[in-house]
Amino acid sequence: MSESRTLAAPVVETPFMRFARQFAESRVAVLSLFGLALVVAAALFAPWITPQDPYDLAQLDIMDGNLPPMSESFSGTTYWLGTDDQGRDMLSAIVYGIRISLAVGAGSTLAALLIGCSVGLIAAFYGGRLENFVMRVVDLQLSFPAILVALILLAVLGRGVDKVLVALIIVQWAYYARTVRGAALVERRKEYIEAVRCLALSHRRILFRHLLPNCLPPVIVVATVQVGNAIALEATLSFLGVGVPITEPSLGLLIANGYEYLLSGQYWISFFPGVALLLIIVFINLVGDQLRDVLNPRLQR
């Protein structure tokens, strides 16, 4: 890889530059990526940008409970998105909620990616009974909807951020195993793999240094969409009451908390966290759509 980069003359596009140029052809995708970057930045710097620490009880004033959006507090600050029953500023709560939602979504996707890719690669490379067995397990798991698998796992495991993470990893690994195996089966027969085999490199090195990088494009597409799915699934599980605990309120839990107030017309407690959730998922899906078009070898120009 590094040789090709040093050989390339300055005028020639590197693969990454070509990728970036093709990605930028869709204005919607670029805007989505920008929006996503903003959301991530907001989540990262939450303690410095939010008007209030929503989980520091000393900063909450019960007198400010259930205020509609744009109303002024007792002490004169404005609650742009209103407050919940405990007088918590919804804007701050949402930014903190995004933090947990993103961390759970991205964390579980990353772990599932590592596990699924390794299993899929090994299955495709060695073939035989091992491959058969692994793919049977994958087929079996994917014949059940993710939400059902996650619900059952959490019913057994109980509540907690770590348990939600475990459930989301178990739910997701099979997608990557299947995707990587599909790509690896094609790559395995190519000449460069034959060549590195002739060099008598260790299997581990062939698998992870040579085979894996060439299987990555489809995996990146699946992973992007999966982050969105994982975030939505976590929100759904938290809404159902089997997800994250009340001490770590994700967007789903914020929405669930506002449910009873919604019925009495106090829409903002559920509405704005939902909008935030929706925006994140739409951004991710739009970026994923464009990635699919750019990384699809059949559409490669």
Binding site: F144, P145, I147, G228, L240, G241, N285
Partner: protein, 325 residues
């Protein structure tokens, strides 16, 4: 055909056995079965009796046989909360879930196919693009939040429709259904839309892709050349060929509609088996959770089996090529 059928049934049987083993391991090896299957409020004598009845004092392989035997006789434990056989509780609530799922499927078919065909026929015009943008939104909207927004708009603000429950039911062949009474229908509308939205987005995508593929085929050109009206070309010649993949995918998706009904039923307090599952998880009513799990596995395997067989009837290539993949 017979050989294919037998092989497919054999596969389904193996899957059921594998799932039974997994459930057994999940309850008996990881958790303590006494905690899982016997109510925490039971007194020592009751616990003793239950241990003997469930055979928990026996070696593991005999426990497994007992578990399988009990399951085959339909005995999957007794609910702690309702004090009724868990399986009966679930089956009592099954019609409500099925009614909701069927209503959602019908909405997604009758809304999704026409919209998808329009999007396919006019893929470069604003109407086509608008439909596709709406379908991306439909994919991205979190199901439960979308349901809550429906309640907010139509129940709280407009006051047109009820926010939850099932409304009046009348028995149809001994099964209570909502859709035959006006009140029941009003209760059904919002949950059905909520459950249908995701599948509608999927159907739109499928039928758009199908339309774009079919409209370039020779037989469509020929039908046009024959001087048939555009209406007939689209509604007969194209529609028929779009339907096959859409119906196949929808058949496979029926199971996932039942699974997602868990969310819809919770939002709309619809008394189906999904809501029962969530209530049971929250109340630690584990026999019901276990029974639901076994039942849903069975239902899924049944659905996959039926879809595969129907598909092999429609498309002979599947049968001849050995494996149904």
């Amino acid at each position: 055909m017979l050989a294919y059928l037998i092989r497919r049934l054999f596969q389904a049987a193996i899957t059921i056995v594998v799932m039974a083993v997994l459930v057994f391991v999940g309850i008996y090896a990881i958790g303590n079965p006494i905690d899982v299957l016997i109510s925490p409020e039971a007194d020592p004598a009751e616990i003793e009796a239950a241990i003997r009845r469930l055979g928990l004092d026996q070696p593991l392989w005999r426990q497994f046989l007992l578990f399988v035997g009990n399951a085959l006789r339909g005995d999957l434990g007794t609910s702690f909360v309702h004090n009724e056989p868990a399986l009966r509780l679930i089956i009592e609530r099954m019609p409500a879930t099925l009614e909701l799922a069927v209503a959602a499927m019908l909405i997604s078919i009758f809304l999704g196919i026409p919209l998808g065909m329009i999007a396919g026929l006019r893929h470069d015009r604003p109407s086509g693009r608008g439909i596709m943008a709406a379908s991306i939104l439909g994919f991205s909207l979190p199901n439960f939040w979308q349901g809550m927004m429906l309640i907010m708009l139509f129940a709280v603000w407009a006051g047109w429709l009820p926010s939850g429950g099932r409304g009046d039911t009348v028995p149809l062949f001994g099964v209570p259904v909502s859709f035959l009474t006006l009140n029941g229908l009003q209760h059904l509308v919002l949950p059905a839309i909520n459950l249908a939205l995701f599948k509608t987005a999927l159907v739109i995508r499928l039928s758009r892709a199908g339309t774009r593929e079919v409209m370039l085929q020779d037989y469509v050109k020929f039908a046009r050349a024959k001087g048939l009206s555009e209406r007939r070309v689209v509604l007969v010649h194209m529609l028929k060929n779009i339907l096959i993949p859409v119906v196949t995918v929808l058949g496979l998706e029926f199971g996932s509609v039942i699974a997602f009904a868990v969310v819809t039923e919770t939002v709309f307090a619809w008394p189906g088996m999904g809501k029962l599952l969530i209530d049971s998880i929250l109340n630690l009513d584990r026999p019901v959770v276990v029974a639901y799990l076994m039942l849903i596995v069975f239902v899924f395997i049944l659905i996959n089996l039926v879809v595969d067989i129907v598909y092999s009837l429609l498309d002979p290539r599947v049968r001849l090529s050995g494996r149904a993949e």
